[in-house]
């Protein structure tokens, strides 16, 4: 080994050499500007997108209210909706048609239908349903808004329910109290009538006992045995929350509530018969009026009983369902029933694959062929730039049509998705969008020298496209800045148009805005291609 005087012996781990390799790689990467930029921007973008989307539910989802009722209750529900951060009422309309066109245009994502005579129905012990129509093309927006509205309506329903039960309790208590007073004062004072009102006394006693029993049993069921009203309401709320959480029609909580209601009904009929008895005794007492001076006295005692008895009677028309859930939340998908996540994903996937396919493909077609020299061969022939550009462009358009067709057929067969709109309309969007994507790829490839650089630069465009396409992350949940970036990306319009046609069954005229924007993109990018496409081989 003496002849290698100039070298050190080879080692398995040679720190100096490791350092040399590290240093060399740093030099290489720092000199390649087209690579270093995306390498830095990539994580920044990822942090921005994930930071703003994960954990942040969509906010201020544009909502329209179709108000067929303008009662206090209707106002209250609307206020609750506006008060939530999730939804923002953009417009209040008076017909479903108006609402639907707002939904179609994408100006709102949610419609809330408040039925006519809402307050009247609830006040008379009936049930009313609030219908929510959601544009499900953005699944996370759809689920977030459904959840928010459902909880607002359930909350309102609970408030009404508690109020009713409290007033029922109050009436029962008052009736019971009134009857006790009647018993103690009237019966004791006017012994003459005792014999005549014997039967009345018995039924009154029984009624009074039953009523107070039931009143306290109802109180007990809604609260712990405490004489103070405020905690009682709180506890009633808690037991309702529990009830809502575990609500299944035949659950124990439901059954017990139902049992209480039927006991209440029984006691109500007892109160009714007591009232009749009181009436009878009062009539009898009136007969004896001449002999007694305090006729007014028992008249007022009678009123004490009759009034609560009447208000109790109101509740006899109630059923458990309407008492416990006066307001019902009803859901209706905006565009056909049975739409699943995959239905909403397919248009976005098509939009994404077209873009990725064309942009990445152009790296091979232009940057790659430029490197390989086969583009030189083309440049050596009497073939104009426009011809070269159009040839490449048409190839990608045809290729993307075939690829989209394959994707749609696959989705149809594997996941039995249905396309609501016309295939011709889908084709129109695919053609224009493939054109835009190809032209963007061509522009980028004109700006770089090597294929590696190309993929770096292409990533700068394709990353925001993937994340801001709305396929994986809700745009609604992103900050205004990123939403602004999205409005400069063709994928936003292509995705919107494809979702409109494929899911909502829109015609090409309905998505005309998207199509026009895409055409503008196409004209600009293609025009730029003709200008910047370089023929010079260095």
């Amino acid at each position: 080994m003496s002849q290698h005087k100039n070298f050190e012996k080879e080692r398995i781990i040679d720190l100096k050499k490791i350092l040399a390799i590290i240093q060399k790689n740093f030099i290489v990467i720092m000199r390649d500007k087209a690579r270093i930029l995306p390498l830095i921007l990539f994580p920044v973008f990822m942090i921005l997108v994930f930071g703003f989307t994960s954990g942040n539910a969509p906010k201020h989802i544009p909502t329209a209210v179709i108000a067929y009722d303008h009662s206090q209750l209707s106002q209250k529900i609307q206020q609750d909706i506006s008060g939530s951060q999730t939804l923002a009422i953009k417009k209040i309309v008076s017909t479903e048609g108006e609402g639907k066109s707002l939904l179609d245009s994408g100006k709102v994502k949610v419609l809330i239908v408040i039925p006519s005579q809402l307050q009247e129905k609830i006040d008379s012990g009936g049930q009313a349903g609030i219908t929510v129509i959601v544009d499900e093309s953005d699944s996370s927006v759809a689920s977030t808004s459904k959840q928010a509205i459902s909880s607002i309506i359930t909350g309102a329903s609970k408030d009404i329910s508690i109020e009713k039960i409290m007033s029922f309790q109050k009436s029962v208590g008052a009736a019971s109290q009134g009857m006790q007073n009647y018993n103690s004062q009237f019966l004791n004072k006017y012994s003459l009538i005792i014999s005549k009102s014997k039967s009345a006394e018995d039924s009154l006693k029984e009624a009074s006992k039953k009523i107070s029993d039931q009143a306290s049993s109802l109180e007990n069921s809604l609260s712990a045995p405490t004489p103070i009203i405020a905690p009682r309401i709180t506890r009633a709320n808690e037991s309702f929350n529990y009830f809502n959480q575990t609500y299944i029609p035949e659950s124990a909580a439901y059954l017990s509530a139902k049992g209480q209601i039927s006991v209440l009904k029984q006691s109500s009929s007892l109160v009714e018969s007591a009232r009749e008895n009181v009436h009878d005794t009062s009539e009898m007492a009136k007969e004896e009026d001449k002999k007694f001076k305090n006729a007014q006295d028992y008249q007022s005692q009678q009123d004490n009983v009759v009034e609560p008895a009447n208000s109790i009677k109101e509740f006899t028309g109630y059923n458990a369902g309407s008492l416990l859930k006066p307001l019902a939340y009803e859901e209706k998908p905006a565009y056909g029933t049975g739409k699943r996540n995959i239905d909403f994903l397919i248009p976005s996937i098509i939009a994404l694959t077209i873009f990725q396919g064309a942009v990445m493909g152009m790296g091979r077609a232009v940057a790659g062929e430029r490197r390989e020299g086969s583009l030189t061969r083309v440049f050596l022939t009497p073939t104009s730039n426009v011809t070269i550009i159009l040839g490449t462009l048409f190839f990608y358009i045809i290729f993307e049509i075939l690829r989209s067709a394959f994707l749609i057929l696959l989705a149809m067969n594997l996941f039995s998705i249905r396309i609501e709109g016309s295939l011709i309309a889908v084709l129109v969007v695919v053609v224009i969008y493939a054109g835009v994507s190809t032209a963007i790829g061509m522009l980028l490839s004109s700006a770089v020298k090597t294929e590696t650089q190309y993929f770096g630069v292409a990533m700068l465009v394709s990353l925001p496209t993937v994340f801001l396409a709305g396929a994986f992350f809700p745009i609604q949940a992103m900050p205004k800045l990123l939403q602004g970036v999205a409005s400069f990306l063709p994928v936003t319009y292509a995705g919107d148009a494809l979702r409109g046609i494929m899911i909502k069954g829109f015609s090409i005229a309905t998505v005309a805005f998207d199509v026009i924007i895409l055409l503008v993109f196409f004209a600009l990018t293609l025009g730029a291609c003709f200008i910047v496409f370089r023929r010079d081989i260095e």
Partner: protein
């Protein structure tokens, strides 16, 4: 013979670097014109401009009578090019490559078919016409590249270092093919840095260095231009440093170099030099094993002109 390529004051600058510096050149119809120079001399830049791939900074050129900027499309239809690197579509077969190129030249399908078949025969690839060209050997790729250059039936064929990196058999095959093509009437513009190849193959030669044409003419003319110097090679039994320094003091001796025991002596005059040298060595009791006058090679010319070795 009339000129088929006329270059006037052709200049190309890349930023501050002048790759081609106002060169003037004429290539005659029917000749094999050798374009020599070391790497980075500006040969490929010049060829790229003549091929319409690169726009010049200034200057003009007429290719077969057409202005290479104004009528670039005509020029492309008249010339054939065999670029330095393989520039075909590696995913296509030999035949598909030629067919595609024919279509880009706007040729009729029947003509393409005929021409493809005859060219594949010319470059001896007819047996491999259905093979994917990416799998070809270096020599085969170069032959296919020549066929591609010949597709438009060019008047001029530009060949940019077509033998570089090939094995000796392939080099010979390419040279023979070049000569055959030239015999069929095609003017050949041949770039190389192999002096021997240029010497054997080319009718006229231009030598380029640092963007300038430093010599132009037939191989003989260029060699004669430095005939003022004469080289004698002497092999001695035991040459010493003392002897070499004494040799250098002799009249008319320009320089003395020693390599592998052979002395290379450059002289400004050759009259009676053998006599003088034998006398010199006899007096010093030196046994001369061999003594010979040496012919100039293009390589010597190049070293003389540029003061550097060609393959640097």
């Amino acid at each position: 013979m009339k000129a088929i390529i006329e270059i006037k004051n052709l200049t190309k600058k890349f930023g501050t670097l002048t790759a081609v510096n106002a060169i003037n050149l004429e290539v005659k119809e029917g000749e094999i014109f050798g374009f020599l120079g070391p790497n980075g001399a500006g040969k490929t830049t010049t060829i790229s401009m003549l091929n319409t791939l690169l726009k010049p900074t200034s200057g003009t050129a007429l290719v077969a009578g057409y202005d290479f900027i104004k009528d670039s499309s005509y020029v492309r239809g008249i010339i054939g090019v065999v670029p330095q690197s393989f520039s075909l579509f590696p995913e296509l077969t030999a035949e598909e490559n030629l067919t595609y190129i024919g279509k880009l030249y706007g040729m009729k399908d029947s003509v393409i078919k005929e021409r493809t078949a005859s060219l594949l025969k010319t470059v001896a690839l007819q047996e491999h016409k259905d093979r994917i060209s990416g799998t070809f050997s270096g020599g085969m790729k170069q032959r296919l590249s020549i066929a591609a250059g010949l597709m438009p039936q060019p008047k001029i064929l530009f060949m940019d270092e077509p033998t570089t990196g090939l094995d000796p058999q392939s080099r010979i095959a390419i040279r023979e093919l070049t000569r055959t093509l030239n015999n069929s009437g095609i003017t050949i513009f041949y770039t190389t840095h192999d002096m021997e190849e240029a010497d054997k193959l080319c009718d006229r030669i231009a030598i380029m260095d640092k963007g300038n044409i430093i010599a132009l003419g037939t191989s003989e003319e260029i060699k004669h231009s430095i005939k003022a110097e004469h080289i004698v090679e002497i092999e001695l039994e035991s040459p010493s440093n003392q002897l070499i320094s004494e040799l250098r003091k002799m009249p008319h001796v320009v320089s003395v170099h020693q390599s592998n025991g052979i002395l290379n002596i450059r002289l400004s005059r050759k009259d009676g030099i053998f006599h003088k040298l034998s006398d010199f060595f006899y007096k010093r009791r030196q046994k001369v094993l061999e003594i010979r006058m040496k012919e100039h090679s293009l390589e010597d010319v190049f070293i003389h002109l540029t003061k550097k070795d060609l393959r640097e």
